[in-house]
Structure formats: C-alpha cells, structure tokens
C-alpha cells in the first residue's frame, strides 16, 4: 500500500500494472497519451516485462491486444476518442470473438474539444458492441476499476470498455495503491473456433453475446461502482455519470437533498432508474459528453416523470460539464463576483519559433501564391496550426491521413494543383494506403511529408516510420525522380522553393520530405545529455 499523487491517466496505468498487465498497445492521442508513457517509464516497462512500445495506429493496437488476449494474457489498449473510429473494426469484432486473457479498451474522450476535432462520446461504442462500459468518477476509482475490469473481462469472456474524459485523464489526486498481481500464464486455446468469424460461427457467437445481455444488466444493477443514495426531497432525482457526479456533489457539500444515482458501469442499471422515476417527479441527468443516458431514459413515448438534462436545455447541449453549468441546472444562482476583464484577448497556440514546419509553410505559401486554383489539404498534428495566422496555409483538416486522399479526390474532380501536407507519424498511421491509391492513378498531386522525426503534438513520442520514409514511398511505387528530401531551414529557402515549384507544377504524383528534428525533442535530448 502506497499513497501517490497521480494523474487520472497514471492511476489507470498503475491500476493496469497492478492487475498483472502483460502488454499496453496504443497510439499517442490527447488526453490518453500519459497512460502508455507511465507504463513505459515503470520498472515493468523498462525491464521488458510488459510490452509497451507505441503502435502505428489504434487499429494495430487493438488487434495486437486481441492477439495477446488469445494467448491468455491481459492487455490494455489506449486511445483518444477519435482513435476508436480507427480501431472500430477489430473492437466491434472482439465482442463477437470474445476474449481469453482480459482486455480493457481505454478511451479518453475530449468534451469541449480541448485538443480534438469532435466530441464524440465513446459510450455509444460500448452499447454498439454490446459490452460493459466503465466510467470512473475519480482517480482512486480509476485505479481500483482496472483490477475489477480485468476480472470482469475474464469472467464474462468479453472485452471491457473504459471511458474517461479530459478532466479525469489530466487531473491529479492522491491514489492509494494495492498489492500487484502476477501476470497470467501463457494459455492459448487448443482449437477454439470462436476466433474464426466465418458467418456460421459469427452467428453462433453473436447469439451468445445477445444472450449475455441479461447478465450484463444484472452486473450493472449490483455493481459496486453504481451507487444509489436516498435523499429527502423527491421533487427531483439525479442520475450523475462519471465525473458528472463530482460536479453535482460540489454544489452540496453537506450531502445531496435529492435521491442520487452515481453511474459508473453500463449498461444502465435499469431497475434502479425505474424505481427512481416512480418515486421522483423529475429526473436530472448529469453526464459529460453527449446525452447518451438521457436519450435512453427519455425514450420516445411520453412518461410521467419529467426528464431534464442536455436535451431539455437545463444543461448545455455541447461542451464539457463544469461545477457552474451543473449549478445552473440545479436552479442555483452563479457565485461569480468579478466580471471578465476587458484587457484580455485569446492567446491561441502557435508553431514554436525555430520549428521546421514554419519553413515548409513559408515556401508553400510562395508557390501557392503563384498557382491560381491551388488548394492545400492538411492533416492532424502540430502543423495543423498552419491553418492559423500568420500562415493560413491549409484548407482542410479532417482525420488522420485525409490530406493525401482528399487531395487525390479533389484532383480527380479537377483541382490543380492539389497539395497534401502530412506529418511523419500521421503518414505511417493512416497516410500510406492513401498514397498507394494516388500512385496507382499517378494522381497529379504533391504530397509533403513534413518529417520532424517524432510524434510532436502529443509530446514527442517515437514515430513509427523514422528513417524509413524514402523506402516506404519507393516501395509503394513513388517515382524516384519525383521523390525529394529537403532540410527546412531558413537558409535553404531557395532550394526548397525551387523543388516545390517544380513538383507542384508537375502533372503526376510527387512526394517532398522536408526533414528536420522537432526543436522540442531536440532540446529535451540536449538537456538529458547534460545530466
């Protein structure tokens, strides 16, 4: 037993280690990155007892975890919410195969989009896959839930989804840790057909999953993490999910006057909710993210009990919960004393001084100014900041890898020149397949792989393709004559501009790789060397 001050992400990581984890598989993504980093820096990670190398993307991560589970050991998959879209195929099918060793799929949602392009709510994926979902309300619970989740996963033979949000992932609290458990022994199934999802087998497996739903319902009713507390005032009952419970309780330091149900395990504990609805005049649903619970409770048909939440307007329809918007939903006034200052303006993030992406955009802007009709398709990473002043260089940013494929689609439609800007890590994550499409048509697009030798935006994790990009491009069939590597330094601007001009005007596929190390990782390495 030890007391540690841990981020929610770190509490999850420590919980997984203490649950006898054998491997963590992940691609970096805010706010989930610190889970894998913590395991990499742990004695088990450093000693090689727990596999913890970054994966190329969330799909390879999910599949590798499934392979470890097949062999009988416990695996953790971590990603941000949009990463789940990439991992969705193996994730949904893992509910059909079932698992052998325990699998926890940890997804960190980002309501309010602090570092994301949408605020999709991962609980929908859990319902979609028809498996249990856990949603901790505090760091201690996040730690405790990991052992619980692995036991649950092995007991029901299904993966367990755990959902956290930014304020849980990136908030520290004191966590009391327990005794570590040994890893599972290697135990690959003899000749189980469950893992062969031919239609005949998949139908049988799906029927079994459907049959299991009653069991999952019962587990939620009796879950130690779903806690009902009686209250004196039955004008309202409160269903508070995950950290929504904290914001609710913040407003009642002396205890809740209303009956309150804290929900931290799904499917929803329906019996308790029906009982609350029969005893209370109204129900307020406090949940971070989308109105997942509210829609289920509300349904389509009229009910006597009034349902309040994000859909009825008591809480905002979008954006994260705060103690203040929950307070407003409870009909209490604001405690704000001072008005906002008139001397404050937004301070948006920007590319670092000395960053190689800056030189890339400077050169690109010169060429684009020369070419009427040119469009630049961007991607996800630090270089997305090239959309903001002073560069305003990119016209799109949708999802990992979409720069190349969107440039090709626009080019197919007649846009010329169509230019893609993608980072090194994003390229190996989801850009390579799109480049192959472009190669096969000799699409007249230029792909700029801005290589800073790291996954920079999330803090400088290893990039899967480092030192391999020329080989990858040539292997996919990019013409050597139209594949260039440049060093994006201000003094090389003339050369970079010349190459870009030639290739952007070329009516075939070209790839330019500006390569210079991220100045953040460079200075971190220099500091580490000094020690």
């Amino acid at each position: 037993m030890a007391k540690k001050l841990l981020l929610g992400d770190q509490a999850i990581a420590q919980g997984a280690l203490d649950a006898g984890l054998s491997g963590v598989y992940a691609y970096p993504g805010t706010p989930s990155t610190e889970i894998t980093e913590y395991i990499q820096e742990s004695p088990q990670g450093r000693g090689g007892e727990v596999h913890c190398r970054w994966c190329t993307n969330e799909k390879t991560a999910m599949e590798t975890a499934l392979g470890m589970s097949y062999a009988g050991k416990r695996a953790l998959v971590c990603m941000k919410h949009v990463g789940m879209n990439v991992a969705a195929d193996p994730f949904l099918n893992s509910a059909i195969t079932g698992v052998n060793g325990g699998v926890v799929v940890l997804v960190a949602d980002d309501p309010s989009m602090h570092s994301s392009q949408n605020e999709q709510d991962t609980r929908f994926y859990g319902k979609f896959a028809m498996i249990p979902v856990l949603e901790p309300s505090n760091q201690q619970e996040a730690y405790d839930m990991m052992s619980f989740a692995y036991e649950l996963s092995e007991k029901i033979g299904e993966p367990v989804l755990m959902r956290v949000v930014t304020r849980m992932a990136h908030s520290r609290a004191v966590v009391e840790t327990g005794e570590p458990k040994a890893q599972n022994e290697l135990n690959a199934p003899e000749r189980s057909q469950n893992w062969v999802l031919l239609p005949a087998i998949a139908r049988r497996r799906y029927a079994a999953l459907v049959e299991q739903q009653k069991e999952f319902d019962a587990l939620s009713e009796s879950s130690p993490f779903n806690v009902y507390t009686e209250g004196e005032n039955h004008d309202m009952g409160v269903i508070a999910c995950g950290i929504g419970y904290n914001y609710y309780m913040e407003n009642y330091p002396q205890g809740s006057p209303y009956p309150v149900l804290k929900v931290s395990q799904y499917p929803l504990p329906k019996e308790i909710i029906r009982k609350m609805a029969s005893e209370c005049k109204s129900l307020l649903i406090v949940e971070d993210g989308q109105p997942f619970v509210e829609e289920q409770v509300r349904g389509v048909l009229p009910v006597e009990c009034e349902i309040k939440g994000r859909l009825s307007g008591e809480l905002p329809r979008m954006g994260e919960l705060t103690p203040d918007n929950v307070k407003a939903a409870l009909g209490m006034g604001s405690s704000q004393v001072f008005a906002a200052s008139q001397n404050v303006v937004p301070r948006p993030p920007a590319l670092c001084q000395g960053c190689g992406h800056r030189s890339v955009y400077e050169a690109l802007n010169r060429i684009v100014a020369e070419c009427e009709g040119a469009r630049v398709f961007g991607d996800i990473g630090c270089y997305t900041l090239g959309a903001l002043p002073p560069y305003k260089s990119i016209n799109s940013c949708v999802d990992m890898g979409a720069s190349i494929t969107m440039a090709k689609g626009a080019s197919d439609a007649g846009v010329f020149p169509a230019i893609a800007v993608i980072g090194d890590s994003t390229f190996t994550h989801s850009g390579m397949t799109g480049l192959l499409d472009a190669v096969n048509c000799n699409a007249p697009i230029t792909v700029i792989i801005s290589d800073n030798l790291t996954t920079a935006m999330t803090g400088g994790q290893d990039s899967a393709g480092t030192n391999k990009f020329e080989a990858i491009c040539q292997g996919l069939g990019v013409d050597k004559e139209h594949l260039h590597v440049v060093n994006p330094l201000p003094q090389n601007m003339e050369e970079i501009t010349r190459i870009m001009r030639e290739e952007i005007n070329y009516r075939g596929l070209s790839v330019i790789i500006p390569r210079r190390e991220c100045i953040q990782t460079l200075s971190r390495k220099a500091k580490a060397k000094k020690k």
Binding site: L5, H170, S171, E250, Q336, N343, V345, R347, C352
Partner: protein, 190 residues
C-alpha cells in the same frame, strides 16, 4: 483548511512545476488534492492554466467554480486577468508583471498594469528583473511561489521541504537555487 488556487501562464513558463511543489507539500501534510492540468495543443505557446485544490476534507470537483478561487498565481499579467471571474471576493492575485507578447493583438500593457494595480489584494513581481538581478532566470517561478506562500495556508517550511523532494534528483545546487528563489519571492512582498 481549504485553498483553491488557479495557476496561469503561457505554455512553457513552468506553472506545472509550481503546481508540483504545492501538490507535494499538501501530500506530505496528508491533505486532499485535486489538480486539473492542460496538456496537448494549447501547450504550444497558448494560454495554459491549472486548477489546484487542497483541503483537509474530501474534494468533489476537479474544477474550481466561478467566484471560488482563493488565489490566482500567474506567470504573466494578462493571464492573471483572464481568470478574474473565478476569483473569490477576498481572493488574492500574485502575478509576474512581465508581459509575454507572442500575439499581434496583445492589449495595451499600461491598461493591464493599471487594472491590476487598481484592485485590492494584488501582488505584482517584476520577475524578469529579479531573475536577472539574482542570475537565476530559470527559477523565477519559485520566486512567484514564494510570494504566494502566505496566501496558500501551507507553511513556508513545507514548501521548502517539497522543493528538496521534487528537485532532489537534480542535485544540491539546483535545490539550493530554488530554495533561494522561494525565499527571495517571499521577502519581496513583505
């Protein structure tokens, strides 16, 4: 006791180090702690803040409600003002007076100073000058923490011990420099 603190600055100014020192001191005192941080995109030169709550009783929310902060500790004067709606009526602002201008539309610096000076319960520190004067530009965040020490309801010696623990691995020289910075910060607001 219960102290709600907002730490504010620009990405890279070292507000998380201040949070770490306070957090460790509170942990050693057996207090409850919640500390919400900002990671990711905004760390690239954008505004960053951390909500740090310490209390002898359990804490519910990771975020401080509007009008609830006892102290705003800021590495930058405009960033101090950004969180005014969160300050409680008797709350303190302890801030660096050195602007960090990395945006083209940075507001009138004099107006910012005047607004800060017109408020009650404000301590302004010329951290830029202090860092240069004492040749420790990298420890100015600890000077700011020293200036805020009395407002935190944590003993000064507790913060010193916390610096010893947190910076211990970096060597005695770094520890001593940061403790000196902490002391200088406290002295300059006495």
């Amino acid at each position: 006791m219960k102290t709600d603190i907002i730490l504010a600055g620009v990405g890279g100014q070292g507000i998380l180090s201040i949070a770490t020192i306070i957090g460790h001191a509170a942990l050693n005192e057996g207090l409850y702690i919640k500390q919400a941080e900002v990671h990711g995109m905004s760390q690239r030169g954008g505004d960053v803040q951390s909500n740090l709550r310490i209390s002898s009783d359990p804490i519910a929310s990771d975020l401080i409600p509007l009008g609830g902060a006892d102290v705003i500790i800021a590495m930058e004067p405009m960033e101090a003002l950004r969180y005014l709606p969160y300050l409680s009526e008797e709350g303190w602002i302890i801030t660096s007076s050195t602007p960090f201008v990395n945006i083209p539309n940075y507001p009138d610096q004099q107006a910012i100073m005047e607004e800060l000076k017109s408020r009650k319960n404000v301590k302004l520190l010329d951290l830029d000058a202090m860092g240069k004067e004492h040749s420790m530009p990298k420890a100015v965040n600890m000077m700011l923490l020293g200036a805020a020490a009395d407002a935190l309801a944590l003993g000064f010696d507790k913060l010193q011990n916390s610096i010893r623990t947190v910076f211990g691995a970096k060597g005695e020289q770094i520890v001593e420099m940061n403790i000196k910075a902490l002391t200088l910060g406290r002295e300059c607001v006495k």
